[in-house]
C-alpha cells in the first residue's frame, strides 16, 4: 500500500505539450507511473512521449479512465484547469504551478472539496511512492523504496532530505510535497492520518517552514491521533519577521509563524526535532531503533 498514489493511479498531465509538462511526463514514465493522457486545448490528437494528447480533461477521462491529474498550466489559467479536472471526475489533482493567487486557490480548494476531490499543492513538487507511482516533479534519483513517510512544505529541501535518507541506507514509502503557498489543498493535518493508516509507513519525517500555523496544527494531530514516530524539521529559524522568504507562505506576520513556536509545539507533541537538515537521516535511524521498529 501507499498513500494517495499507487499502481491504480491513472495520470493525466494538464499542459503536457509545454516544456515542463513534457519533461516531467518522461520522468514520471521512467519512474513507472501510468501516465495515460495529456491535455492541451487545441492540440488534441498529438502525442507526447507516447502519451495521447486530448483537447479536454473530460475527453481524456472518458477515453483513458484517468483519475489523477498533474497540472502544469500557467498561473492565470490554473484555476480553470483544476475546475476542469474536478468536473471531469478526477479525484486527485497535483497542482505544480506556482504564483496562483490565493483567492483563486480558495475557490479551487472549496470547489474540489465539495466534489470529493483532493488537491496537492499548488506550488508543490507533488507526490511519489517509490516502486509504485509518482505524480509530480520530485527527481526520480532521490528515491528508494522503504518504510519512511515524508511530508514537506518545501521542494528542493525535500529532495535533499529524501536523498539523505536514501544515502543513509533507508527508503521511503510515500513522499508528499505539500507546496509553499498560504492556501494548500492538503496540509500536514490532512496528510498525517493517511500515513497513520498506511501499513507500509513506520515513521514520518515532517519538514515545515516558517509562516502560518500548519506545524502547530500538525502538533495537535500528533498529540491526539498519531501513534507512529515523527522526526520534524522546520526551516527559517534565522528569517526576519515581515519578509517573504521565497515561498508566498513563508512569512512571519504579526509575530505568528516563527520557527521557535513550531519547533516547540512539535517537540511538545512528542516529535524528534532536528535542528539542521543534515541531522535528519541519523535521527530517523536512531528513532526507528529506539522505538523498536526495524
Amino acid at each position: 500500500m501507499s498513500v494517495l498514489v499507487g499502481p491504480d493511479s491513472r495520470i493525466v498531465v494538464q499542459g503536457i505539450t509545454g516544456h515542463q509538462g513534457t519533461v516531467h511526463t518522461r520522468q514520471m514514465l521512467l519512474f513507472g507511473s501510468r501516465v495515460v493522457a495529456g491535455t492541451t486545448p487545441g492540440k488534441g490528437g498529438q502525442s507526447v512521449e507516447g502519451v495521447p494528447v486530448f483537447d479536454s480533461v473530460q475527453e481524456a477521462v472518458d477515453r483513458t479512465q484517468a483519475n489523477t491529474s498533474v497540472i502544469f498550466v500557467p498561473a492565470p489559467f490554473a484555476k480553470d484547469a483544476l475546475l476542469e479536472a474536478v468536473d471531469a471526475g478526477v479525484t486527485l489533482a497535483v497542482v505544480v504551478t506556482e504564483h496562483i493567487p490565493f483567492h483563486d486557490m480558495l475557490t479551487m480548494y472549496h470547489y474540489a472539496r465539495s466534489r470529493g476531490a483532493r488537491i496537492i499543492g499548488p506550488n508543490c513538487p507533488g507526490i511519489a511512492a517509490p516502486g509504485k507511482s509518482k505524480a509530480g516533479i520530485i527527481p526520480n534519483v532521490v528515491f528508494r523504496p522503504g518504510r519512511i513517510g515524508v511530508i514537506s512544505r518545501s521542494g528542493t529541501l525535500t529532495y535533499e532530505i529524501v536523498n539523505g535518507i536514501k544515502e543513509h541506507g533507508l527508503g521511503q514509502s510515500t513522499c508528499i510535497g505539500l507546496g509553499g503557498d498560504p492556501v494548500i489543498g492538503t496540509t500536514f493535518v490532512d496528510a498525517l492520518p493517511l500515513f497513520e493508516a498506511d501499513p507500509d509507513t513506520d515513521l514520518v519525517v515532517l519538514v515545515g517552514e516558517i509562516g502560518g500555523t500548519a506545524e502547530e496544527d500538525a502538533a495537535e494531530v500528533l498529540r491526539s491521533h498519531f501513534t507512529k514516530p515523527v522526526v520534524a524539521y522546520v526551516a527559517g529559524r534565522s528569517a526576519p519577521p515581515g519578509k517573504r522568504m521565497g515561498h508566498a507562505g513563508a512569512i512571519i506576520a504579526r509575530g505568528k509563524g516563527t520557527a521557535a513556536s513550531k519547533l516547540e509545539a512539535l517537540r511538545a507533541a512528542g516529535a524528534e526535532v532536528a535542528d539542521f537538515p543534515y541531522e535528519i537521516p541519523d535521527l530517523v535511524a536512531r528513532t526507528l531503533k529506539e522505538r523498536g521498529r526495524r
Partner: protein
C-alpha cells in the same frame, strides 16, 4: 505583497463606497495651503505622513491644524522627514471629526481554515496585536456565499452598534469584503473605524494587495513599496531576493533549501546578507542574471548551495561561470559552492575549470563560507 499607503488605500475605499473623512493628499506645503483654502480639506484638520510603518501618531508623523497657516506649516514640517527608514513624500490632510468611539475591523486570510476571516473589535485605535483575544470576534467567511446577514449581525453586536449605525456598518462591511475579493487583497484593515454621530467613518486604511494576482491588477504595478531597490529589480526579473542585515550572500534553489542554508550559516557564526532563491530553472542565463544581481549587493562572500532536481547542476555551474566573467574585478568576492544532485559531476567539473571548489557536506561548506567572509570559524 503590495502594501498601499493610506491615501492609496482610501482611494480604493472611495471606489467601493466606504464612508471616509473629506480630505486630500498633497506633495508640498503650498499644495496643502491651497487645498485648505479651496475648502477641499475642512478645518480643523489632521495632517498625516504617508509612510507604511505603523506608530505614526506616537512618532510625530501625525499633526493637527486649525488654520490654513498651521496646515501649511505642519505639512512642511512632515514632508521629507525620515520615519522608520522611509522618506515622507506625501501628506494626507483630512477633516478632524468628532469621534465618539474607535473600533477595529479587518479581513485577511486564515490559512488553517482556508477561509477569509473578518476580525472585529470594539477596542480600535490601538494595534490589534495588543488587544486581548477575548475582545476580538473572528468570523470566517465562505467565499461561495460571502458575508452573510447573520454574520453581520454578530459583528454589529460585538462592536456595540445599534440603529442607524448598523446600516452604516453594513455599507462598511460590504465595501470591506468586496475590496478583499475583487482587488485580490491579502489584508484590508480599518483601524480605527470611528463612530461619528450615528454613522461610521474609516479614519485609516491599510490595504495589502497580493503580488501573484498582479496579472489581474496592472494598476498596482507602479506602486512604490517597502522593497529595497535591488529587491525591486529582482521582483521584475522574478527572482526571489531578500536583503538582510548581514554580509554573506546565499544563493540556493528552492525556498526551503535557501532558508535552511541561512539557518546553518547563522548557526556557524555567519550573518546572511542576501537570500536568493534561484527556484527551479534550467536556463543558464537566469542563473547569470541572479548572480550579477547578487554582486550588486556587494557581499563579503557568497555561498552557493544547489541541490539539482528539476534544476541541473551543470546548468547552474555554466550560468555561474559566465556571471563571474562579467563581474568587474573591483566588485569580486570569494565564492564557496556546494552542488549536489542531478548532473552533479558535470557541474563540479565546470566549476573546477573556473577555479571554484565544490564541497560535499553542508556543514563544512558553510564553515568555509563564514571563514571566507572574514568571520571566525
Amino acid at each position: 505583497m503590495v502594501k498601499l499607503a493610506e491615501w492609496r488605500g482610501k482611494e480604493i475605499f472611495r471606489q467601493y463606497g466606504m464612508p471616509l473623512p473629506r480630505g486630500r493628499v498633497v506633495r508640498s506645503a503650498a499644495e496643502a495651503a491651497s487645498a485648505v483654502a479651496a475648502g477641499s480639506v475642512p478645518l480643523p484638520c489632521v495632517v498625516k505622513a504617508q509612510v507604511l510603518a505603523g506608530g505614526r501618531g506616537k512618532g510625530g508623523a501625525v499633526r493637527f491644524a486649525s488654520t490654513p497657516a498651521e496646515a501649511e506649516a505642519a505639512t512642511g514640517a512632515i514632508l521629507g522627514l525620515e520615519f522608520k527608514g522611509e522618506r515622507v513624500r506625501e501628506v494626507l490632510l483630512e477633516e478632524k471629526l468628532p469621534i465618539a468611539r474607535e473600533l477595529y475591523l479587518s479581513v485577511a486570510l486564515d490559512r488553517s481554515l482556508r477561509l477569509p476571516i473578518v476580525m472585529a473589535s470594539a477596542r480600535g485605535g490601538v494595534e490589534i496585536e495588543s488587544v486581548d483575544d477575548a475582545q476580538i470576534l473572528r468570523v470566517p467567511v465562505h467565499p461561495f456565499v460571502g458575508l452573510t446577514g447573520y454574520e453581520r449581525r454578530r459583528i454589529a453586536t460585538t462592536l456595540g452598534l445599534v440603529g442607524p449605525a448598523v446600516r452604516s456598518l453594513d455599507t462598511v462591511l460590504t465595501a470591506l469584503w468586496q475590496i478583499f475579493e475583487r482587488e485580490d487583497a491579502e489584508l484590508v484593515e480599518i483601524n480605527p473605524l470611528a463612530v461619528v454621530g450615528d454613522g461610521l467613518t474609516a479614519l485609516d486604511a491599510k490595504v495589502i494587495i497580493e503580488d501573484d494576482a498582479s496579472f489581474r491588477h496592472p494598476q498596482y504595478a507602479e506602486v512604490r513599496d517597502d522593497r529595497t531597490p535591488l529587491e525591486e529589480i529582482a521582483r521584475e526579473k522574478e527572482i526571489a531576493f531578500v536583503q538582510l542585515d548581514g554580509n554573506i550572500g546565499v544563493i540556493a534553489n528552492g525556498a526551503g533549501l535557501t532558508m535552511a542554508t541561512l539557518d546553518v550559516l547563522q548557526q556557524f557564526g555567519g550573518r546572511p546578507g542576501v537570500f536568493l532563491d534561484l527556484g527551479g530553472t534550467d536556463d543558464p542565463k537566469k542563473v547569470t542574471e541572479a548572480f550579477l544581481l547578487m554582486a550588486k549587493a556587494r557581499p563579503a562572500a557568497v555561498f552557493l548551495n544547489i541541490f539539482g532536481g528539476v534544476t541541473r547542476c551543470d546548468t547552474v555551474a555554466l550560468g555561474l561561470v559566465e556571471a563571474m566573467k562579467q563581474v568587474p574585478p573591483a566588485e569580486r568576492f570569494p565564492l564557496v559552492a556546494r552542488i549536489r544532485g542531478n548532473n552533479e559531476d558535470e557541474g563540479i567539473a565546470i566549476l573546477r575549470s573556473a577555479g571554484v571548489t565544490s564541497l560535499h557536506e553542508l556543514k563544512e561548506s558553510v564553515q568555509a563560507a563564514v571563514a571566507a567572509a572574514g568571520g571566525r570559524p
